[in-house]
Assembly symmetry: C2
Homo-oligomer: 412 residues x 2
């Protein structure tokens, strides 16, 4: 019997009506011959309500309150949805039961609040499938620590739960039902011509996700890539057929890779330059160590050519972290003349597996931006991505121009 | 180290402020040198909300939906409170942690929705006390079945959880914090002179509880009696000292038993008489078997003197069950001339351990009612209780007259 994993996010199970709609989709897959593992999030808003209660109860300790109790409380939202989904399936004569993390047991490490999955033994659920159950409804986002306490996997952890189950049970596919109908070439709110992709490679998805296309949790994509789990992203709110949504899969499963798959952006960036830093071995560590210590998420890093043992060091970080970055630099043991901050910049990136074997993408990108008069402040490149920092006011223009230049509105 | 069990009901943990107030009481007992096991209910309203969700999800099956899923969902309310209480105690520098049913584990049978406790192993919690934890916060109302599913003990099950923990841990006492400040000689809404009892015997409490003084769940009192657990009922909302509330204890712990401890009542009763029934061996079974089968809660039973092989059989039951009782009788294999129903009656009972060794209580009761012109329809007696069925319109009058007659406003 082939096993299919289906994951429903919080908006997809926000009410009993929506749970029923989701259960119908599950029933259809059962009728198609699958045994199904359903991973559910808490009903929309419930996790926030519980997190708020915990925060208020532990407010005297600030963020230092006992994460084990946080997890014990917050995980209950998924338990509720799992039971309701199992009942709803039973109402449709689909043999189903719910599983909480400790019942599977989904074993994690003891890092409460952001636990990592160690093991998902198949025995208990396999036995139920053998007895004739067709659906295991699993509470997402939670597991059990070596000490027997309930853990949570961190925000978005239900995606990770789903992929981990798909890997453990050799599932034919892991379908992620959410409130968007797939992965787009760029944000449709910015470029009207944005097109839904039929397929995208794991590597591209990772670059798009970490750059702001918040469809899938990054960790779940990494996990899917490592274990070769084919993901499908699709909407709970549309009557999509078998080939709907976007398939996130291995590169070799994409017959004809597009040169460029998508345009990502990140709006609220700042560009920070340390002017006239001494250029000596270890200077990068002396700068970025303290920044990491201060919790600054440094993204792009560019070092200019050195002259007479001095250089300029430029990096980007979220605009809201500039004050922290400045303080960290002033307290660090480095010499520099001044800090220059430009805080109204944005990052735009072109992502595509195809550019690995194609040289012209960068120049094509710079041409397109030049034609629109967009000045490029910083450039960084990776194997499948080229990112530029530009004035924030040109961000939408740049995304649209690049979408046009690479003809992303047309299926490749 | 002496262990104290403290149980807080739903209204006592309805908000974070109330949880803090409860936690302060726990902190005081810890300062007094106790290790404390705290049993918590769900925040007021939460269990109803979850029960409603389950009922709606399973509505197609009526009451036949999967009780295991009901329990999986409904038990989550207590998990939330337990975590919040543990956090709140930690904020007050009291070393505490939460325990869910499966973590203890509190083992029950598999009767989901009304499971019975089989075993509470001490090891895990004892180990934590030995490590320096001073408080174990346990989610009430729940356990784990032999199959590893979460079970619930039925409504009011948190009282039972508390008593079971007190028995398993040889607790010095089990304090039940609720929204009343103790057990009264009768309902203060009916008799203004009603007085809070300092002590009451288990047997008396059972008679009062099953007769309508809904302070403690009957099952928890039975359990306390069996294991000799001293219960104390007291209010969460008053600043009561060490001797406040009502102690529910063994008869031998009450130095001077009062003749009568309390007056109980039950308003919505009906009196049903089968006229001219054949009087043969097995006739009682032929009548009350079908009534039990129809779900009629028969309370008092009186059989009149038999004449010429015929008799009248009278019983009382809740007024709402009269139609069911009538149908069951008409379909039963018994011969009778007619059914006579009086449906505006009420039951008033005098309860007291002292009457075991005292003969005059019944006549004193009948005298008091006669002085007020209250006609008695049915009388039944047990060792520590005398109950009468009277016209409902005289109920308040009867309760007040009896309260006066036995001088219950005065401490014995």
């Amino acid at each position: 019997m082939s096993i299919l994993v289906m994951k429903f996010g919080g908006t997809s199970v926000a009410t009993l009506d929506r749970i029923r709609r989701a259960a119908k989709r599950v029933g259809r897959e059962v009728a198609n011959g699958h045994d199904v593992i359903v991973i559910v999030s808490a009903m929309a808003g419930e996790t926030n309500r519980l997190v708020d209660l915990v925060g208020e109860a532990g407010q005297g300790s600030g963020p230092l309150y006992d994460a084990r109790e946080h997890d014990a409380v917050v995980s209950s939202g998924e338990n509720v949805t799992a039971g309701l989904m199992a009942l709803t399936l039973q109402e449709m004569d689909v043999p189903a039961r719910s599983w909480q993390g400790w019942q599977v047991p989904l074993r994690t490490d003891g890092a409460h609040g952001s636990a990592r999955i160690l093991e998902i033994p198949r025995e208990a659920i396999d036995r139920k499938f053998a007895e004739g159950f067709r659906v295991a409804v699993v509470a997402g986002f939670q597991g059990v620590s070596p000490e027997g306490r309930t853990t949570t996997l961190g925000r978005g952890g239900s995606d990770t739960t789903a992929v981990a189950f798909a890997a453990a049970f050799d599932a034919v596919r892991c379908d992620i039902y959410t409130d968007v109908d797939g992965v787009y070439t760029t944000d449709p709110r910015i470029a009207q011509k944005a097109r839904k992709l039929d397929r995208i490679a794991f590597e591209e998805m990772l670059e798009l996700a970490s750059l702001g296309a918040k469809v899938l949790q990054t960790r779940s994509v990494e996990l899917a890539m490592r274990y070769g789990v084919t993901l499908r992203v699709l909407s709970s709110f549309e009557d999509n057929g078998g080939e709907a949504g976007t398939l996130v899969c291995a590169e070799e499963d994409i017959v004809e890779s597009a040169l460029v798959s998508g345009i990502a952006y990140s709006r609220d960036e700042a560009k920070v330059t340390l002017l006239d830093v001494e250029d000596r071995p270890g200077i990068a560590a002396a700068i970025f160590g303290p920044l990491a210590g201060a919790g600054v998420n440094v993204d792009m890093i560019v070092q200019n050519i050195s002259e007479e043992g001095r250089t300029d060091m430029t990096f980007s970080c979220p605009e809201g972290q500039v004050a922290r970055a400045r303080k960290a630099m002033e307290e660090a043991e480095i010499e520099f003349r001044a800090i220059d901050v430009e805080d109204s910049v944005a990052k735009v990136s072109v992502v595509g597996i195809g550019m690995r074997s194609h040289a012209g993408v960068a120049s094509q990108m710079f041409d397109a931006l030049a034609r629109e008069g967009v000045n490029i402040r910083v450039i960084t490149t990776s194997e499948i991505k080229i990112s530029v920092l530009i004035d924030r006011k040109y961000m939408e223009l740049a995304v649209q121009a690049l979408h046009d230049a690479f003809e992303l509105e047309r299926a490749s």
